[in-house]
Assembly symmetry: C2
Homo-oligomer: 378 residues x 2
Amino acid sequence: MRYQIITTDGRAKRAAVETVHGTIQTPVFMNVGTVAAIKGAVSTDDLRGIRTQVQLSNTYHLHVRTGDKLIRQFGGLHKFMNWDRPILTDSGGFQVFSLSGLRKIKEEGVYFQSHIDGHKIFMGPEESMQIQSNLASTIAMAFDECPPSHADFKYIQNSVDRTTRWLERCQREMARLNALPDTINQEQLLFGINQGGVVDEIRIQHARTIAEMNLSGYAVGGLAVGESHEEMYHILDVTVPHLPQDKPTYLMGVGTPANILEGVDRGIDFFDCVYPSRNGRHGHVYTNFGKLNLFNRKYELDSRPIEEGCGCPACKSYSRAYIRHLLKAKEMLGMRLCVLHNLYFYNTIMEEIRDAIEDHRYASYKAEKLERMAAGPQ
Amino acid sequence: MRYQIITTDGRAKRAAVETVHGTIQTPVFMNVGTVAAIKGAVSTDDLRGIRTQVQLSNTYHLHVRTGDKLIRQFGGLHKFMNWDRPILTDSGGFQVFSLSGLRKIKEEGVYFQSHIDGHKIFMGPEESMQIQSNLASTIAMAFDECPPSHADFKYIQNSVDRTTRWLERCQREMARLNALPDTINQEQLLFGINQGGVVDEIRIQHARTIAEMNLSGYAVGGLAVGESHEEMYHILDVTVPHLPQDKPTYLMGVGTPANILEGVDRGIDFFDCVYPSRNGRHGHVYTNFGKLNLFNRKYELDSRPIEEGCGCPACKSYSRAYIRHLLKAKEMLGMRLCVLHNLYFYNTIMEEIRDAIEDHRYASYKAEKLERMAAGPQ
């Protein structure tokens, strides 16, 4: 992997990340395909059509459902999904902590129950790396604990210390796996994850500690889990400067277009979020003038596309009225068109962001964009 | 409308039907889009991609759901769905008799309850024509009664006599509507429907009666409702010769690839059926070697497309194993890919059929095709 900063504008970085599966132009928004499929009947062919750079799949879901061993037998996630561009897999940790029922956190890892059939599973740093190695993603995420947002200082400190020890084990295990002759992607990259809730000193100390571990990239995790936007921006303000400047940074699970604009302004390269696909499935669509709810009666006879001038597959062919009709009739096509539009909208914002940084006009671009989106729907 | 027989081969006809929305090459399979959308997240853009000629929408569903008046205000179904090729709408009769709860058949029409909210609706020949005129389809179907398959001779005879009287009213009302200055499609075509259960003499007499009414086309209805395939083929054998040879014929709601091959051999031009989309949504996919059930465990690691050499969007990019994974994970994309494949399969068979008739080798083509499909999956 090679991380090359093309230019900067304030704290915003315009960079390129070279991987075995091609180069990622950052800042980038990764499109979330939970179980190796974008929800809303969207295929990898569709993703190519809307200029998606990176697809994100969930380790936990693929482990408990189809099985990472089967995907390994098939030749890895890229072959399975017919996607030759970069794939990032999460560690499974977030889902273990948010989806599973009874769970027990021990030094060795986490004992928990499958959310599908309740059977007992153990996952620790080594298991997470093994599963991600089977999936053969481009970028694997370290196995961490995301402490509950209401946790106290002591809980967070203990949790973060354990996450650091787990990260060391992830790094060792990934090195071992990448050296095995029958590993599908022997150049799999490992990103570490900074934790620490909204406690500045823990965040900073943890960032300094993991920065010394020479990982391929660094994520800020445990945000967008209930804290305010201001708290999130503050944590980025104090934390990102302590992460290596010559490595990509990733703000996990974030967020709204406004969150992304602010994250970029604080030096973030990678983003991912279920918002565009989840909102799309509920008929909520993004425009440069804010979000529209297509279930609203006022679109009943609206012959305009979701957004005038948008080049997405929905806007090029279909009206608000028709998509509203599909949504109300519970036709899957309605969800598909809204999801395609939203993902295209996010991908397009990222292109604009990259252009603005290159032209060193990011501050004015961001201000105008935020103002226009806040103005509300036309 | 102009119906031009290009050539015949035995009783099979290869024809072209010129309409205001373009020419239909027959024999043709119409793709069913119940509420102005093909189930399985398939759009009109997708239909163009798989070479669909005619889209079929259901009058009853559009009437009770979005409302034909709204679609008329929008400029008709073509504009609403962004589809400029021919559209056929059914009369609503079949759904009135199959979907609604309490219903009362009177000389004036049918009183029934909406299957959505139970509110009372009346539909007679005039109402059906008015709704279809609002939708502005290319071809409107006459409002008829499809008698229950267990009905006795007397019931069927009375029902068919009433269907004839209703047809006369449909014809008058359609002529009146087409002459109105603000009618969207003033050249809307009306097809009559032959009924009579599996009673030869009623079928024949009814065919003779309606043949004299100079309609734009003639359908054989009330088949594929529980009788055997042999009974259906027999009814076609005795009935079709009494329908005008210089008008298109349409076998409603039929059927399997084998049914279509047999129907073409008995002089049928138009077909429609929910099988390819409904089967697709359940993971049942058509191949030249019979149907596959993709839920079957044996496809778990099968890296082949559904059918080798198939040019559909599913087969060009995805494996049986991946589609199986999507279906099992209940991802909509699995259904979409299977529906696209099945519709493409049907459209391709129709192309082969047209080529075979043109080359005067329909009998041998049909025999080989049936034998290969009966051989079972590879």
